[in-house]
């Protein structure tokens, strides 16, 4: 039984800060230290990225991290082993984000079983849209892992269908294009979140492009959480094995601004 299957319930009790890390960049020991430091600095939920050779939804920053992680030799098994190690003494909610092929080839049941054993509460697969949810949903349900749905600026008439069946929280994509730091977001972002709320009571977290505490603060005026990937991965790319204090400082600043 997945002891962490209901973790998302507590994540959104305040303006949630959800950092992302590409596991194995630059090595799995650094990733473990980063996760512990981010939890300590006030992250509410940590997104563990399992790197993929061809991440089509990512911009150059996360692509670079995937290349570094895979050329360092990290595997899906190494990442689950690390998550299990963290679970022995840390209660922080964690979810896994990866592409459909690493899940499919590993075997969805086996993959979700490992999620369960590591106390992973949710799974995000950007290239498995609503129409392919059935590829994963059975296994997610069996192992107590919430399958997270995404809403994009182009979703429009699809929002009702996606939101009314969504579980855990909704991942609202802030802008067109791929992941990466942005100065501004889709001008109908707030409206998108409002539309989503017509069809569901579950929380909405916004991701893609958020990098500054002020942006996260603005977005959580109308959304329930802010997801930050590229801005953190960029710090890791810059400082490598020495990145832990820099990332902790960044997460701390986010926390302070969201709690202000």
């Amino acid at each position: 039984m997945n002891d962490h299957s209901n973790d998302l319930g507590r994540v959104f009790s305040r303006r949630a800060f959800i950092p992302f890390v590409t596991c194995g960049d630059p090595d799995i020991e650094t990733t473990e230290a980063l996760i512990r430091a981010m939890a300590d600095a006030g992250a509410d939920l940590i997104e563990l990225g399992i790197p993929f050779s061809d991440p089509i939804a990512e911009g150059p920053v996360i692509q670079g991290a995937d290349v570094r992680a895979l050329s360092g030799g990290v595997t899906t098994d190494d990442i689950f082993d690390m998550a299990e190690r963290i679970r022995r003494d840390l209660d922080i909610p964690m979810l896994v984000m990866t592409y459909i092929n690493p899940v499919f080839v590993y075997g969805p049941d086996r993959f979700l079983d490992r999620c369960e054993r590591a106390g992973i509460c949710a799974l995000i697969v950007p290239d498995a849209p609503f129409e392919h949810k059935s590829d994963l949903q059975t296994y997610c349900t069996r192992h107590g892992v919430k399958l997270i749905s995404m809403i994009a600026p182009t979703s429009e008439d699809r929002i009702a269908m996606i939101a009314s069946e969504a579980e855990g929280f909704l991942y609202v994509v802030s802008s067109m294009g791929v992941t990466g730091v942005r100065k501004s977001f889709s001008n109908n972002l707030e409206e998108m979140v409002a539309t989503v709320r017509k069809y569901t009571d579950i929380p909405c977290a916004v991701g893609f492009g958020i990098s500054t505490p002020a942006q996260a603060r603005d977005i959580t005026e109308f959304a329930d959480g802010a997801i930050v990937g590229s801005a953190i991965v960029r710090i890791i790319g810059e400082h490598g094995r020495d990145s832990v204090p820099y990332v902790a400082e960044y997460v701390g600043a986010m926390r302070a601004e969201l709690d202000r």
């Binding site: 939804a57 498995a128 392919h132």
Partner: protein, 396 residues
């Protein structure tokens, strides 16, 4: 063969990010509407004839047949099409569709450059803005095609992410599509990607097989015994095969890139060495590792240098309806030179993979048997690279 959800049994599907879903659904609806619209079909036929020069010849390779001493060999001359390959058949269809859908800009990936050139050509003709994504490694291998695309008014983006070849160009074109989708159509160059692309590209390429049926009936009064075509993503092969799937007596053989040998790690032999996966919008066969990481692939041919294959091919293989063989660089280069000297026809290095297999096959068959080889493109683009392969330092 496809069901309503665009699947070929377990293969196919529509595995793309949510940002692209409405665009893909809009395309699916437009495609299924216009492919039954007499006016659209008239325009398509008209351009195929006036612009491309269709029907392409079915050429009896008399000298090659006599030299090999077995089955009669016919070459389907897609190399004589405007822009020099079969790629234009699909591009005309998709660009006409893009216009009907009100799109003003097209984007495309390219490997050898043939699909990029075809897309740039139609964009010039139809007044569409055109941007082509091409791996840095291929930009070097096919410098002349880069200039050709620019000459035609397209912007070429070298792609340095990943391994800098065709799959990376596809990744980057998909990323660009998520960035700007409302006025932009992605002209995918082969029978891959999310539904409806595999089905749609197959339909536009099937003009090849339909012509072959008519032409071979006129020439021989019977259907061929075997069809041979090279496969990267698989569009020229599907274009030839699809029409004959129900004709069980017609053998179909796809020739994939064996590179330096399928026992090395330098090949792109998806059918021989791949396994089931989900990538580039579809469930199909891919060269990949046990963790589902897509493998770097290699071929002397930039057009076959792709780690996956269209879902219909994966299906035909699973059904044992088509066979797939790997042809090495050495065999392909030998065949490139062989056809040049024997018939005075310089084939594309991609098509030379099919010629190489026909050279092996024909002597094992009787003189009454008939083989049709899809000569999918011409080899002008490859001359300098082949010279270098043979140790002559020629640059374009």
């Amino acid at each position: 063969m496809t069901t309503d959800d665009g699947k070929y049994d377990e293969y196919g599907g529509r595995y793309v990010p949510e940002t692209l879903m409405n665009a893909v659904i809009e395309l699916d609806e437009a495609y299924h509407r216009y492919i039954r619209d007499p006016e659209f079909l008239r325009e398509l036929d008209d351009l195929n004839h006036k612009y491309t020069g269709r029907p392409s010849m079915l050429y009896y390779a008399d000298r090659m047949t006599r030299d090999l001493g077995g089955a009669k060999i016919y070459l389907k001359r897609e190399d004589l099409n405007h822009t020099g390959a079969h790629k234009i058949n699909n591009v005309i269809g998709q660009c006409l569709l893009a216009k009907r859908m009100g799109k003003t800009r097209v984007i495309a990936e390219t490997g050898a450059g043939q699909h990029g050139v075809a897309t740039a050509t139609l964009s010039a003709y139809l007044g569409l803005e055109c941007e082509v994504f091409m791996g840095v490694h291929d930009v070097e291998r096919q410098a002349l095609n880069v200039y050709r695309m620019e000459l035609l008014g397209a912007k070429v983006h070298p792609v340095s992410s990943g391994t800098g070849v065709l799959k990376d160009a596809v990744n980057e074109t998909l990323r660009e599509w998520t960035n700007r989708v409302s006025d932009t159509h992605y002209v995918i160059g082969t029978v891959m990607g999310p539904a409806p692309f595999p089905e749609m590209v197959c339909e536009f390429q099937s003009v090849i097989g339909r012509e072959v049926r008519k032409q071979i009936m006129e020439a021989e009064g019977r259907l061929p015994d075997c069809l041979v075509a090279c496969v990267g993503g698989g569009s020229n092969a599907i274009g030839l095969f699809h029409e004959f799937i129900e004709d069980k007596g017609v053998r179909m053989v796809g020739c994939e890139a064996g590179g330096k040998g399928v026992d090395t790690d330098m090949h792109a032999a998806t059918m021989t060495r791949g396994s089931v996966g989900i990538f580039h919008g579809m469930k199909s066969l891919f060269c990949q590792n046990e963790y589902g990481q897509i493998a770097p692939v290699y071929s002397i041919s930039a057009g076959l240098d792709y780690p996956g294959i269209g879902p219909e091919h994966a299906y035909l293989k699973a059904m044992d309806r088509a066979e797939y063989v790997a042809i090495t660089d050495d065999q392909a280069v030998d065949a490139f030179e062989y056809l040049s000297r024997t018939e005075g026809i310089i084939p594309a290095i991609e098509s030379a993979h099919a010629i190489a297999y026909a050279r092996e096959l024909a002597p094992t068959m009787s003189k009454d048997d008939v083989i049709v080889v899809n000569l999918s493109g011409r080899g002008d683009k490859d001359v300098a690279a082949i010279a270098r392969y043979r140790g002559r330092d020629i640059h374009e």
